[in-house]
């Protein structure tokens, strides 16, 4: 039966536990495309023969190959699309710098897609929440306010936050009443 290689690709992706990205199966994809090319060429010649030579008994065969072509296409597109869904999830779960192991699992085009996605997301996030933007990948729920008030407990010395403002930090504790106001980003840095 045709399309066995395409099914292997699908099964490989399906087997990967929820959301994890297996290595890009370039070999497998190439084999699927070769099979499609062979099927297409056979069909081309049979169609010509059916039309000029009146061989209408070839039509079921042509249909058969055509179904296989459509199936291969479906499997390929679904494979690539599902991988993109997983790569997108990586941006939200992992952050914008991926570990090397993961990057080797991606093809060059997928890497490019990831960079474009990162850029779009960054542009969007910068446009939210005042001057500094809002990192929406931290939590799906919107924050109650853009700034969190913190109270300082213990002297830690001077500390420079992301955006360059240096802050006198003490051991901090999240409390409603406070003296300093730190943006969400700064807070995540401090709590990590």
């Amino acid at each position: 039966m045709f399309c066995e290689k395409a099914m292997e690709l699908i099964r490989e992706l399906h087997r990967a536990p929820e959301g994890q990205l297996p290595a890009f199966n370039e070999d497998g994809l190439r084999q699927v495309l070769e099979e499609m090319k062979a099927l297409y060429e056979q069909n081309q010649s049979d169609v010509n023969e059916a039309k000029s030579g009146g061989r209408s008994d070839l039509i079921p065969t042509i249909k058969f190959r055509h179904c296989s072509l459509l199936r291969n296409r479906r499997c390929t597109v679904a494979y690539l699309y599902d991988r993109l869904l997983r790569i997108r999830a990586l941006r939200w779960e992992y952050g914008s710098i991926l570990p090397n192991a993961l990057r080797f699992h991606m093809s060059a085009e997928e890497m490019e897609w990831f960079n474009n996605y990162k850029r779009s997301l960054a542009t969007y996030m910068r446009s939210l929440g005042g001057d500094e933007g809002l990192d929406i990948t931290q939590d799906v729920k919107p924050p109650k306010s853009l700034y969190i008030e913190v109270r300082c407990l213990k002297d830690y010395g001077e500390f420079e936050v992301d955006d360059g403002t240096s802050v006198l930090i003490y051991f901090v504790c999240l409390v409603e009443t406070g003296f300093h106001r730190v943006s969400q980003d700064g807070l995540d840095l401090l709590t990590s």
Binding site: G19, C67, E93
Partner: protein, 255 residues
């Protein structure tokens, strides 16, 4: 981890499968018995090219016999060809296909759907055993005892897509699917809502894929609720995806 990964849902229970759904692709790869109404020449052709013989247009090349097929991860057809040059060729792969008129075969659902039409010019479809009268009475007697995973891991999805083939038993099939699900649903819901932090493999062993999905949704709901009760819902925790990748890194270092 799965929080940010939203895969394409299966559409098999509805009128059409979802093109991009991996579950639907796997489901439609399952086989069903068909009868060919017409010969399909030249599909054994690329096989015959490897012999010295010229390409033949006959749908039944001389002396070709089908050996029983072997079930591996898919279906592998073993075909021995005795051509007029008396060469014996046995190829385990790729599967060799041959269309004989009036022969009974098992084709994957996607192929059967593609070749099927109302006038049944190319093939006519028979119902697999588990959707026929005999099994339908079993399901109506007690649906809970049946191991649906063994019966075909996509019982409901496959059955729903079978309705496309305009069998006279369609009304009965759809009723049977529905009643089977109704009969089994209660137990699935109960077990998914009460199995917290334990090994559930026994519970899901006899469920088909759709039911397993339901079970997992139930488990997720239960786990989320327990998280909320413990007050962990609003804490920042490392995502599962990240933790899994870190775990794997450890094993790489140990190797």
């Amino acid at each position: 981890m799965s929080e940010a990964y939203f895969r394409v849902e299966s559409g098999a229970l509805g009128p059409e499968e979802n093109f991009l759904s991996l579950d639907d692709i796997l489901m439609s790869h399952e086989k069903l018995p068909v009868r060919t109404e017409t010969a399909m020449p030249r599909l054994g052709a690329f096989f015959l090219e490897r012999s010295a013989g010229a390409e033949t247009d006959n749908a039944v090349p001389q002396g070709l016999a089908l050996l029983p097929r072997l079930e591996c991860s898919g279906v592998t057809w073993f075909t021995a060809a005795l051509t007029s040059q008396a060469q014996v060729i046995v190829t385990p792969q790729p599967p060799m296909w041959l269309g004989l008129q009036g022969s009974k075969l098992e084709l994957p659902l996607w192929l059967a759907k593609g070749l099927f039409d109302n006038k049944r010019r190319i093939l006519s479809v028979e119902l697999p055993k588990i959707y026929q009268e005999g099994w339908r009475t079993v399901f109506s007697a007690d649906a809970n005892v049946v191991d649906l995973h063994k019966m075909g891991p996509h019982f409901y999805g496959f059955g729903s897509q079978l309705l496309h083939f305009d069998s006279p038993e369609n009304a009965d099939i759809s009723q049977s699917l529905l009643q089977t699900f109704i009969g089994r649903f209660r137990r699935i819901m109960d077990s998914s809502q009460n199995a917290y932090n334990e090994d559930t493999s026994v519970l899901v062993a006899r469920l088909d894929e759709m039911e397993r999905g339901l079970f997992q949704t139930g488990q997720k709901g239960l786990n989320d609720f327990q998280c909320w009760e413990k007050g962990q819902a609003s804490q920042i925790t490392a995502s599962n995806l990240v933790q899994n990748y870190k775990k794997r890194k450890f094993t790489d270092m140990e190797d």
